[in-house]
Amino acid sequence: MFHLAFLVPLFPLIGSIVNGFFGLRIGKKAVGWVACGTVAFSFLVTLLMLGQLLFTPAEERLFEQTLFTWMAAGDFNAAFGFQIDPLSMVMMMVVTGVGFLIHVYSIGYMHDEYSYYRFFAYLNLFMFSMLLLVMGNNFLMMFIGWEGVGLCSYFLIGYYFEKKSACDAGTKAFVMNRVGDFAFLLAIMYIFYLFGTIDYTEVFHAAPEKLILGAEPVTIITLLLFVGATGKSAQIPLYTWLPDAMEGPTPVSALIHAATMVTAGVYMVVRCSVLFNMAPFSMSVVAFIGGGTAIFAATIGMTQFDIKRVLAYSTVSQIGYMFLACGVGAYTAAIFHLVTHAFFKACLFLGSGSVIHGLHGEQDMRKMGDLKKHQPVTYITFLISTLAIAGIFPLSGFFSKDEILYHALMDGNTILWGMGVTGALLTAFYMFRLVFMTFWGESRVDPHVHPHESPKVMTLPLVILAGLAAFGGLLGIPLVHGWHALHNWLEPVLHFDMASTLEHSKHLLHEVGRHAPHWEALLIEPEENIWIEISLMLLSLTVALTGIAGAYFCYVKKPGLPDELIKGQWGYDLVKNKYEVDEFYDATFVEPTIQGSLLLWKKGDAQGIDGAVNGVAQILGWCGQQARVVQSGFVRNYALFMVLGFIMLLFIMFF
């Protein structure tokens, strides 16, 4: 069955070509069928391969298919080939499965668009690139997919090109991604320079023998890789493009900017786990950037009113969790969270899309409210996913987030753990704020708009995704190791023999006459302690409930207050006092937080990062102005510059 691997990316490519070239001619219905059909076929093939992989002994679960030699130059060799192993299988399942549901959803959501075919052509092209990314068997293949998904994302963000903001957002995304790509490409070059190959199997096999644990080369490689990952996965400091990317159609936000593409960075780090394991410094960088992003984005999420932006910051925050997990060496937990996040976040985005669809394009939560009456299916699915992301037992997010927190604590780093817990609290708070503002309370909907439930083609994917979000946690039940299906599944890929690597590094260092640093700490394996785990679970459940309660207090209780004031004159004083309590609360807790995060958002985000981007643009513009003076159009001047260049070269040569 594995020899069919090439079909998986091929189907979406065919779909993209058919829709791109003949989309206008074959009509909307056919476009939808082609787009979904091709992805469905990919999904089926993936399922077949999953079946076969399950029946293969665990140690032999690695299949490589080389279609042809892509580049062979000197001793450099890169194949156009695919690799099927447990890790890529997980990613393929997520990409094709969630991708298929979102494709189906898009049929309904994009139904009234003029350039329907264009949307599906891009979307299929995206699927193709993403599958190349996760299936490639070498770094260059990953890079092809990496660039391809970036390009598709760019096109899809700028899909509503009539809006200037959409074009700007697309450009911003592309430019920021390019910064990351730059680092990634350099990392590939460096890997080639060190190993003479860029094939995963060969590199990861050779790494423990060739590299010294914690030495510069491996640290540089991993840091470069991680910079690449921050660009694609929207981490500090390259995250600002993701909230802006919400200018794109909502299915795109769900597929690309929540479930699949933005997690490519996590996939890459996990794929290179061997290298990261050998670079403790990089690991802590990954962990702290991840944890920092988790909190930072969450605080911003609390202040947003655009429904999709809240979700976008939430995505940034959740991916931060995944990196936090990678950073503490809990790669399984990272992938676990990646999978569950794909389920619930796709569902949340699609749900928000359903809300927006029902409100005819309204995205401001201040103009929503009480939608649970009008959109029951959307509401239920949304609520399930929100409970999942908030980490309520027994939904999927609970297990995956808890596993990350557990590993962070077990790693011995309480700061990281604290970051995680704070993030969990904030997540629960702002996600329920979202739910309460949108579905509960008084309706603030524009009276001219009549909210309605979305068609079946849109709600069905929602229901399936909500189901997955609810039960996806069964993939990794903690407590007993044998129950953790995902862990067992990924174990062969992530296996890393720290002890022998350490020995080897010591040996290598010894040969050049240097002393090995104290590495023994790396060898300590945390003991499994079921009681700690259970108490942690209870703690995080408490934390999540606290967050929800807080949201309930602020956004369900408080909005009703003004009405009560007007109605109940007799209880004015009391209400006033209560109001003062609220004021006090606002002044001491909510307001500083809001102000603080607004400040962070405005200064850190708008001025810091955007300022840097704009600054570069300004410098380039200034250079251009100078170029105008130089490139004056006069032959005489051109000759003069040739002579000056000559003099410059002479000076360098002789002085």
Binding site: A73, G74, G148, V630
Partner: protein
């Protein structure tokens, strides 16, 4: 009376030059008898190029040195002849419809392109500085005339004049450089020079170094590297578009071939002294080319500046000076030929008689009126920027890995950084095509030959990107 010994002549290795010269003259003659319709002339030119390409394989057991070491047939030159014939054929195909539209009815046009190709072949196959000098002059003189062939167009005039004066100026420097190298070594044969340098028998090292600096200026001008690039945007802008495409590929490739032979093959031992100079020129070319391109609103000027930045990348191949360097140089030029001809093909297709539609704003909304055209233009531009899996990426990666192998890490980092920057302006064009409302009407008549060129270029760009291996294999053996 002293008897003159008969010279060593090997006409077989000279076959491509002879064939092409004969065809060039045939074109001239036939042109005398056909007045209006140039189909026959074009046909003969294309047949000539085909025959030339075939005759390049007349020699086995490469390399063959002939004419007292002034001419060589080796893998590099054979491959370059392929690039030249290909680019000239594409240029002629592009010209057919363009010339009809713009009213260029001179048969000499085709003959000049063929003669220019002869010059390029000579340039790429010469191992004697006198021959290199003559080759460069043949190429340049043909190009001066081709740039100014639209005599009634002030822009074309200006392009010819600027190119000519600066070109002749640069020739002076190049010639002086060659003279000093001759003075320092006592020979003009590159093979001998290499030997003398290796055995440290140069009469005067400062003289040699001075010569090297002057040579860099001369070659630097021909390939349009900073700071000797300033003619390029103006000339590319003013010359007829097919000539611009031609100029950006063939002659540049030929100059690079000579550049490589003189520096990497004849003077590798002296590399410590010229490496740093070329590194500076390369880095400057990348940066200034990119910055210049960002500011442009005219597509031809944008492509001109982008070609300056590409010169920066290609120079890395010369600096790397290993065998990987030469094959990556060849591969890059081939990939570049496809991308450039494709992009200029689209530029020609979009133009019309009264309005050549050269402003980038003229491309607004192209994707909605002519999606296929927009897609191909995007592919060419993205390939120029180095997007995998297109030809441009493979070519860049290949050059960079050649340089990495020699340890030029900083240079490669800067080059990668630049290829990142370059996306900014390629993307600008794509943004106009995909994300702007159409401003005016496109009146595009799909001229069959130009479309043919674009299709070939498309196949080449995508094919070299996805299946580069056969060509890579060929460049290395």
């Amino acid at each position: 009376m002293e008897h003159i010994p008969s010279p060593t002549v090997d006409l077989v290795s000279l076959a491509p030059v002879l064939v092409l010269s004969v065809f060039a003259m045939m074109v001239l003659l036939v042109d005398l008898y056909v007045k209006r319709d140039k189909t026959l002339v074009i046909f003969i030119s294309l047949v000539g190029l085909l025959m030339t390409a075939i005759s390049a394989f007349a020699k086995f057991d490469l390399p063959v040195h002939s004419f007292n070491d002034s001419y060589v047939v080796d893998e590099l030159s054979v491959f370059f002849i392929m690039i030249f014939t290909l680019s000239s054929a594409l240029a002629i195909l592009l010209s057919i419809d363009y010339n009809k539209r713009e009213g260029i009815r001179m048969g000499e046009y085709y003959s000049l392109i063929l003669l220019c190709t002869v010059g390029m072949i000579l340039l790429a196959s010469s191992t004697d500085m006198i021959m290199i000098f003559l080759g460069i002059e043949i190429v340049s003189i043909c190009l001066y005339v081709l740039a100014g062939i639209r005599r009634s167009d002030p822009k074309s005039n200006e392009a010819a004049l600027k190119y000519f004066l600066l070109g002749a100026f640069a020739t002076g420097f190049l010639l002086y450089g060659m003279t000093l190298v001759y003075g320092a070594t006592g020979t003009t044969k590159l093979g001998l020079i290499a030997e003398l340098i290796r055995e440290e028998q140069i009469a005067s090292k400062p003289l040699m170094l001075m010569g090297i600096v002057l040579l860099i200026i001369g070659f630097g001008f021909k390939v349009a590297s900073v700071p000797f690039h300033m003619w390029a945007p103006d000339v590319y802008h003013g010359a007829p578009t097919p000539v611009t495409a031609f100029m950006a590929v063939g002659p540049k490739a030929a100059a690079f071939a000579a550049f490589f032979r003189v520096f990497a093959e004849a003077m590798p031992v002296l590399s410590p002294s010229w490496e740093s100079l070329l590194c500076i020129v390369a880095v400057l070319s990348m940066f200034i080319g990119n910055v210049g391109a960002i500011m442009q609103t005219n597509i031809k000027r944008l492509l001109a500046y982008s070609s300056v930045s590409h010169v920066g990348y290609i120079l890395i191949a010369v600096i790397a000076k290993n065998s990987l360097g030469s094959s990556s140089l060849v591969f890059y030029m081939l990939a570049y030929a496809f991308m450039i001809f494709g992009a200029f093909g689209i530029v020609i297709l979009i133009g019309r008689k009264e309005n050549e539609m050269l402003e980038i704003a003229d491309y607004s909304g192209l994707a909605y009126k002519h999606p296929l055209m927009a897609i191909s233009m995007s592919v060419f531009l993205l390939s120029l920027g180095g997007m995998p899996p297109l030809a441009g990426f493979v070519a860049k990666f290949y050059i960079f890995s050649a340089a990495i192998k020699e340890g030029f890490v900083t240079l490669v980092v800067l080059a990668v950084l630049n290829s990142v920057i370059s996306f900014y302006y390629y993307l600008k064009v794509i943004v106009y095509m995909y994300m702007k409302e159409p401003e005016g009407e496109f009146q595009i008549s799909l001229a069959p030959m130009t479309v043919f060129v674009v299709v070939i270029a498309m196949v080449g760009t995508a094919g070299l990107g996805i299946f580069p291996d056969p060509i890579l294999y060929f460049t290395q053996h």
